[in-house]
């Protein structure tokens, strides 16, 4: 740290630093918000309805996740089925 920096108190630059950090994190978080498309909740609801025709499950047992890797997107669907004895016969 030079003599010049010593006289320029670091607190004089802290707002600029705050702004720069915010711009980066906010842009990043907005980006990840956009990667979750609007249709995901509806997709999840319809999947739940279809699976429910055959197996009794609830909302929390369906997980839908969308990942973006490089040039392609991966839709990950995870449905937890109940134990055999709890399973109702299909109608």
């Amino acid at each position: 740290m030079g003599l010049f920096d010593y006289f320029r108190s670091p607190q004089n630059k802290s707002a600029a630093l705050a702004k720069e950090r915010l711009q980066i994190i906010v842009a990043h978080e907005r980006g990840s918000r956009r990667s979750s498309p609007d249709y995901l909740p509806a997709l999840k609801k319809e999947l739940l309805e279809v699976v429910r025709k055959y197996v009794p499950i609830d909302q929390s047992q369906v997980k839908v996740h969308l990942d973006r890797e490089g040039g392609y997107e991966v839709l990950e669907l995870n449905i937890t089925l109940p134990d055999d004895e709890q399973r109702a016969p299909p109608h």
Binding site: N12, K13, K19, L22, Q23, V26
Partner: protein, 270 residues
């Protein structure tokens, strides 16, 4: 047609309840029938800021559960005509705020009020989501500080995706920035984010800047919303904010550092 306005922020302690109280008083003072609702179930505080904590008999959750009707729960403000307060419940059961229940109560309020101000709790849990779900407009209260600005941006994302307007494809919730606890001299020195910085990051229109002022604490001590202390800078700034909300084109005040005179330095004062 009533307008529902949510006062929200994401982060706690930035001035949501102070803003809700003064905003509601300002609308009522200007002749509009106004109701202000505390959505912070379990941690009610709007009643204290409004100075009506000893008059709470029934609350929002009682009305939702049909244990009381709206007229029994609404508290009429003693200082300002046209103003009613609906306090939050102190129950710990956050599940008490159901979408159907809130919708029904807002529907009843819409019949007799012009403005319904929803004071949101901090965070993004059920209470906060319920407070913003039915909103037509939003006052996003932000402090010039990194965590507050980030959380405000997060709340803007939620307003744009999880409000009823977003879900139904209606025109989006109209967003307004309220920058509170602003210290112009610190922003000028470069050790606080400036109004311009925050506007550039959040990108929503500025409704008002509330300067940091000892009057805010004095008002909450006394249970008198700061807008009623129109001799104070914060009170005057809230007055301007309400006028701007109602369509007046007023310049922003208290944005530049004021030179303190010798006497003021010696004796203090806001």
């Amino acid at each position: 047609m009533a307008t529902v306005i949510v006062v929200t922020s994401g982060k706690g302690g930035v001035g949501k309840t102070t803003t809700s109280a003064s905003f509601a008083v300002g609308l009522a003072q200007r002749g509009y029938r106004t109701a202000v609702i505390d959505f912070d179930v379990g941690l009610r505080n709007l009643d204290l800021i409004m100075g009506c904590e000893r008059r709470v008999v029934y609350d929002f959750v009682n009305v939702i559960n049909n244990e009381a009707n709206l007229n029994q729960a609404l508290i009429r403000d003693k200082r300002v005509d046209n103003l009613y307060i609906l306090p939050a419940s102190q129950t710990r059961d956050k599940e008490a705020l159901t979408k159907e229940g809130v919708d029904r109560v807002l529907g009843e309020l819409r019949e007799s009020f012009e403005y319904i101000v929803c004071d949101s709790p901090a965070g993004i849990e059920r209470g906060a989501l319920m407070a913003l779900y039915f909103a037509d407009e939003a006052l996003v209260v932000t402090n010039p500080e990194v965590s507050s600005v980030r959380d405000s941006d997060r709340i803007l994302g939620i307003l744009a995706s999880r409000s009823r307007r977003a879900e139904q494809g209606d025109p989006p919730v109209q967003e307004h920035l309220v920058l509170a606890r602003y210290a112009p001299e610190r922003a000028h020195r470069g050790d606080m984010l400036s109004v311009e910085d925050v506007l550039e990051i959040l990108g929503i229109p500025l409704l008002g800047v509330i300067p940091e002022s000892p009057a805010v604490l004095q008002s909450s001590n006394a249970g008198v919303p700061v807008i009623l202390d129109d001799g104070s800078e914060a009170g005057a700034a809230y007055g301007d904010l309400v006028d701007r909300f109602l369509g007046k084109n007023l310049p922003h005040r208290f944005l530049t550092a004021q030179k303190k005179g010798f006497l003021k330095r010696l004796f203090g004062g806001s």
